[in-house]
Structures are given as structure tokens and as C-alpha cells.
């Protein structure tokens, strides 16, 4: 059984992007369907507002498409993609965009694997709310690092490239972030 899929997947993204560069929009569609979820979820957790997250995600993919002519597969495609997403998220946070949208820390559709009782649902929601608030309270760069590390399962080296800092700086960001989260979420254990 072939185990080298990770590298295959990387090359495949770059290849798709090169095809977009050659004028094949279908390949952009494949990249979009592959990454629209991860990018929106990352932005949602980053800015804590679903509408703003989707608006920013549109901008991310629009920028990727517009930059196709100058695309060079020097870095992993996802590194480039998340660098754009992070840049836009940080700008939006600086401009106070999520607050302007009204409902920060918005709730949303819960899709648990079964049908929990109303009481279980309430407990679940209040715990979820604590997690959201704990993440929201992190300084922006720590938040970005944790989201990429935890939810996107990215490696330190890749997070470093996205954030434009050294690997040891990433580890230090993550250490502080996890320390803060632990203090805030200890009672959930």
C-alpha cells in the first residue's frame, strides 16, 4: 500500500494551480472545493463571525485567482493560501470588522453525531461557548498559530512560513497560547 500520499497531495495542488495559470478554470474549481471549507472555518474561528468569515474567504480565493499569472510553486499551495487568509483576518480584526457586523461570538448550527437531549444540548452549548471565548481572548498571532496547529494539523515549519517568523517563535507562540487556554478551560476536563 502506497504511503507517500502527503507529498503527492502537495504536488497535486501546485499542479492544479499551474493549470489555472495556463487558463484552466476547472482546476481552480477543484482547489476551491478542496479548500473552501478549511479556509472559511479558519477565518470563522479567527474573526468569530460567520458572515465576516465568508466575506473574507471570498476575498482570499479572489486574490488567489487574480494572482494566478504570477504563481510559482515555490512554497506549498496551502502555505500561500493561509498566508493570504491570515493577512486578511488580521487586517479585518484591526479594522474592527467583526464587531461592526454586530454578532460577535455568534452561535450556529450544531450537528452532533446523535440527537442529544435538551439538557445535554444546553451543557454542550455552554461548554462550546467557553471554548470560543477562550480562543477569542488569545492575542491574534497566538490565535492564528493555535488554529493552524490544532484544526488544520499544520506542522511548525509551515505555520512559521504562514506567519513569517521562525519555527522556534511559533513554538513559543503555541506554548503561551496553550498555557492560556489550559488555564481557561481546565474546568472542562
Amino acid at each position: 500500500m502506497d504511503m507517500g500520499v502527503a507529498s503527492y497531495a502537495i504536488e497535486y495542488d501546485a499542479e492544479l494551480m499551474l493549470r489555472v495559470k495556463d487558463g484552466d478554470p476547472a482546476s481552480f474549481g477543484v482547489l476551491l472545493s478542496k479548500y473552501r471549507g478549511p479556509v472559511i472555518h479558519y477565518l470563522h474561528r479567527m474573526v468569530q463571525n460567520r458572515d465576516v468569515a465568508e466575506e473574507l474567504a471570498q476575498e482570499v480565493f479572489l486574490r488567489v485567482y487574480k494572482a494566478r499569472a504570477t504563481y510559482e510553486p515555490a512554497a506549498k499551495f496551502t502555505t500561500w493560501l493561509f498566508r493570504i487568509a491570515t493577512h486578511l483576518a488580521l487586517n479585518a480584526l484591526r479594522d474592527g470588522k467583526p464587531e461592526r457586523g454586530g454578532q460577535s461570538l455568534d452561535g450556529g448550527v450544531e450537528h452532533a453525531d446523535g440527537r442529544p437531549s435538551a439538557e445535554q444540548q444546553l451543557i454542550r452549548e455552554s461548554r462550546l461557548d467557553m471554548v470560543r471565548r477562550a480562543v477569542a481572548a488569545l492575542p491574534e498571532k497566538q490565535r492564528a498559530a493555535v488554529l493552524m496547529h490544532k484544526y488544520q494539523e499544520m506542522e511548525y515549519s509551515q505555520i512559521a512560513k504562514v506567519l513569517g517568523c521562525s519555527e522556534s517563535a511559533v513554538k513559543s507562540l503555541l506554548f503561551r497560547a496553550y498555557e492560556t487556554l489550559r488555564a481557561r478551560l481546565a474546568h472542562l476536563a
Binding site: 476551491l32 473552501r36 472559511i40 470563522h44 474567504a57 479572489l62 450537528h111 462550546l128 480562543v135 496553550y178
Partner: protein, 131 residues
């Protein structure tokens, strides 16, 4: 290895692969790593919400608008002449060949194909049985 949690140590070393070896003989670091695992599990509570339908369509519309604008800019002074020519060309195409396909359509069918094959996989693995 010196204890990363000691004063003046580099605690972020605990996030490196070798940390378990040190933790095996250091209760404090063992504790820290266990807490890290619990914290990360707490974060699992925050599952993502489904992407709302219409996202792709809106994006393709923006891309098309953008493309049209870019293409159009240098030609603006020649607008009337170009419009007449375009109408003529359009008429010829409509009466003879297949109509031109919009950009979005190219991408759409491959996404649909991918979705169907993913759905097939999930069903085939028995993962979609209602519980």
C-alpha cells in the same frame, strides 16, 4: 535534557518530539503534556459549521466581474465600435455553433463529480447509517 519548565529554561521545547523522553522521568513536564492533551481535546468541542450553499456561485460571479473589468479597461474608448462588432460575432456564433460556456460551468461539473465520489465513499464505508 534540562527541565524546560525550570526558570530560564525554554518551555516551548515541550512541543518538540523528544519531549516525551524527558517527561518519562519528570513529573512536572508529564503533567504539562497531559494538560496539553486535555486542552486540545476541549478545543474539539468547536466543530465547524457547514459552508452555506451559494458560496461558490457568488465567488465565480465576482471572478467573472473582475475578469470582465480587467479585459474591458483598455478598450473603453472604442466602446461603440466594439459593441457593434460583438453583437455581430454573437449573432454568427448563436446561429452556427454551440453557445459559449460561462467560466463557472467548467469548474462546476468537476466539483459535482468529486462530491458524488466522496458521498459514495462515505456510504460504501458504512459511515452514513443514521444512528
Amino acid at each position: 535534557m534540562e527541565c524546560p519548565l525550570e526558570m530560564g529554561g525554554r518551555p516551548e521545547i515541550l512541543l518538540e518530539p523528544g519531549a516525551e523522553r524527558h517527561a518519562a522521568e519528570c513529573a512536572r513536564c508529564r503533567d504539562w503534556l497531559r494538560n496539553l492533551e486535555t486542552t486540545r481535546q476541549a478545543l474539539d468541542l468547536w466543530q465547524p459549521e457547514p459552508v452555506r450553499p451559494g458560496f461558490d456561485r457568488a465567488l465565480w460571479q465576482r471572478i467573472e466581474a473582475e475578469e470582465a473589468r480587467r479585459w474591458w479597461r483598455p478598450w473603453r474608448p472604442l466602446a461603440p465600435a466594439l459593441a457593434a462588432a460583438a453583437v455581430l460575432v454573437g449573432a454568427v456564433i448563436l446561429s452556427s455553433g454551440p453557445e459559449p460556456r460561462p467560466l463557472a460551468e467548467f469548474a462546476e461539473i468537476e466539483q459535482i463529480e468529486q462530491t458524488l465520489s466522496d458521498v459514495q465513499m462515505l456510504r460504501d464505508l458504512g459511515l452514513t447509517q443514521p444512528l
